[in-house]
């Protein structure tokens, strides 16, 4: 069985008000890869992910998901995102259980009751992150790390083939970080393609199969694309653009262990 190309990005460019945020990004992600998308703030990581998910239109270039051009892609159930938080759960009480179930809501299901199989999958996902006992609690009464685990359960409940995570390790304590790492290792072994958008590889460096470093100071946004660890050259801004104001040093950190 040959590996399927999950994400294909060709010469992708995005501009905001004339500023190049992404320039000529070429990226091909194969089934089962564990990608860390690295780069300092403003390097276009988030824009690239939004573009891959169809949330950010491209000015030039093409993106395909699972071999289908984004404009015609309909198999969104194969894709899941783990955000940093759920904005709507802070203004109204939302239970942990409701937050997890919300991952399974699709337009196709609107004409019938919420399927029993989706409930069962949501229960398994919440059990797998160890928070089934907290299902009736308000999401915003959980700790930050626990909320992150709920959002992971939300994504897992749909058994995605592609999992995109935004800064999953940020602000986690050791216990939550270990739980997350174990879970990611399990998913990776099961063949899920994983993209982690992050500032740092701390805690997950053993799992990552490929690091992609973005930096928007040249005509190609992708600065490094290869196995970890990221060579030291790419950790420091070796070619500062003469127009750029001095910036904080880029924070591509490697796990010291």
């Amino acid at each position: 069985m040959s590996a399927e190309t999950v994400v294909s990005v060709a010469r992708a460019c995005v501009e905001f008000d004339g500023e190049h945020v992404l320039e000529n990004v070429d990226l091909s992600i194969e089934e089962g890869e564990f990608i860390a998308l690295l780069g300092p703030n403003g390097s276009g990581k988030t824009t690239l992910i939004r573009a891959i998910l169809g949330l950010q239109p491209l000015d030039h270039g093409k993106i395909s998901l699972f071999g289908t051009p984004l404009g015609r892609f309909r198999d969104w159930h194969r894709v899941a995102i783990v955000p940093q938080r759920l904005p709507g759960a802070t203004s109204i009480p939302v239970s942990v259980w409701e937050a997890v179930l919300s991952g399974g809501i699709t337009p196709r299901g609107r004409w019938r009751p919420f399927p029993r199989s989706s409930r069962a999958a949501a229960q398994r996902a919440l059990e797998s992150v160890g928070l089934w006992s907290r299902r009736h609690d308000r999401l915003d009464t959980l700790s930050g790390g626990q909320q992150r685990r709920v959002l992971i359960a939300r994504a897992l409940s749909t058994s995605p083939d592609l999992l995109v995570m935004d800064e999953p390790t940020a602000g986690l304590d050791t216990a939550n970080l270990q739980a997350l790492t174990a879970l990611l290792a399990h998913l990776h072994n099961a063949g899920t393609t994983i993209i982690v958008v992050t500032h740092e590889l701390t805690g997950i460096s053993d799992l990552v199969t490929r690091a992609v470093v973005l930096r928007n100071d040249h005509h190609e946004s992708v600065k490094y694309d290869g196995p970890p660890p990221v060579p030291a050259d790419f950790n420091n801004d070796v070619h500062p653009h003469h127009d750029d104001p001095p910036e904080a040093p880029p924070t591509v950190e490697l796990d010291p262990s």
Binding site: L55, P83, A89, S91, P93, S95, E98, I105, R110
Partner: protein, 274 residues
């Protein structure tokens, strides 16, 4: 002599019960999306419809419904197009709505501008027998649409980007929600009045979330509180002989205050059990 012996009170009670039921159902999504003031603006826009109805001699409910629905589309368009200056653009639309309503009513023949008051703060006697059918059908439409699209709206209100990646048509859901809010405004304008109707969308929700732990429970408790406030407020208004809008809203606010007080020890106890 019972209140129910008066035909106009029977009709007013039905209208009040309908708005008490529907308004929090829509309001819970507005609060979740941090659009609590959207209903307020919709009421202002609907006022132009009422003014137009006076001027043209058409029926107020359909005219206000069309105006408010157009306003809902316009509001969603503005929100989508201008991310930063959106709230200023909305403010302009809302001021225009009030000014247009008062202006058209003043231009209308007869005593239209004095009966405008009944639409601003609600009235016990203005629910005509023909209105009941119109109100019931509007409510039926809202309930059916919520039954079909409510889950997708919930997902959208949690996080629009996540919802979009689940294949949910976020702009369509957002526009639908705005139009449903417009429907509720028109349903409530007779009894609660256009200036206060959005309070029945928001206050019961704010009260309910003091004591609830889930979205579903918040919606259910809010609907219950909305019903209690609107029906008892209407009766109070009959007894005290004041417009029903203010009594309904003040009773809803009183419920909010009571639940906010109850919630303090409740939360403390919950924190201790964890």
């Amino acid at each position: 002599m019972s209140i129910l012996d008066y035909d106009f009170m029977q009709r007013a009670l039905v209208a009040a019960a309908l708005v008490g039921l529907l308004a929090p159902l829509i309001g819970v999504f507005l609060v979740q999306r941090r659009l609590a003031l959207l209903g307020d603006g919709m009421g202002h826009v609907a006022l132009t419809g009422v003014g137009l109805a006076f001027l043209l001699g058409t029926a107020p409910i359909p005219t206000a419904m069309v105006t408010a629905a157009l306003g809902a589309f316009l509001i969603e368009f503005i929100r989508y197009r201008s991310r930063t200056a959106g709230d200023v653009a909305l403010a302009l639309l809302f001021y225009g709505g009030i000014a247009g309503g008062v202006l058209f009513a003043s231009l209308a023949p007869g005593k239209a501008s004095s009966s405008l008051n009944a639409y601003l703060f609600g009235s016990l006697s203005t629910v005509a027998s023909g209105d009941i059918v119109a109100l019931l059908s509007l409510c039926l439409v809202v309930v059916i649409l919520m039954a079909i699209f409510g889950r997708e709206m919930f997902a959208m209100s949690l996080d629009a980007d996540l919802a979009a990646v689940q294949g949910i048509r976020v702009r369509m859901m957002s526009t639908l929600l705005a139009v449903l809010a417009a429907v509720v405004v028109v349903v409530g304008m007779r009894v609660v009045g256009l200036l206060l109707v959005s309070a029945i969308m928001i206050v019961p929700v704010a009260a309910a979330q003091q004591v609830t732990r889930s979205f579903r429970a918040t919606a259910a408790v809010a609907v219950l509180l909305g019903l209690i406030a609107s029906v008892s407020g209407l009766v109070t208004s009959f007894v005290v002989e004041v417009p029903p809008g203010p009594t309904i809203v003040l009773e809803a606010l009183a419920l909010f205050a009571i639940l906010a007080l109850v919630a303090v020890p409740l939360r403390r106890r919950r924190r201790e059990t964890h």
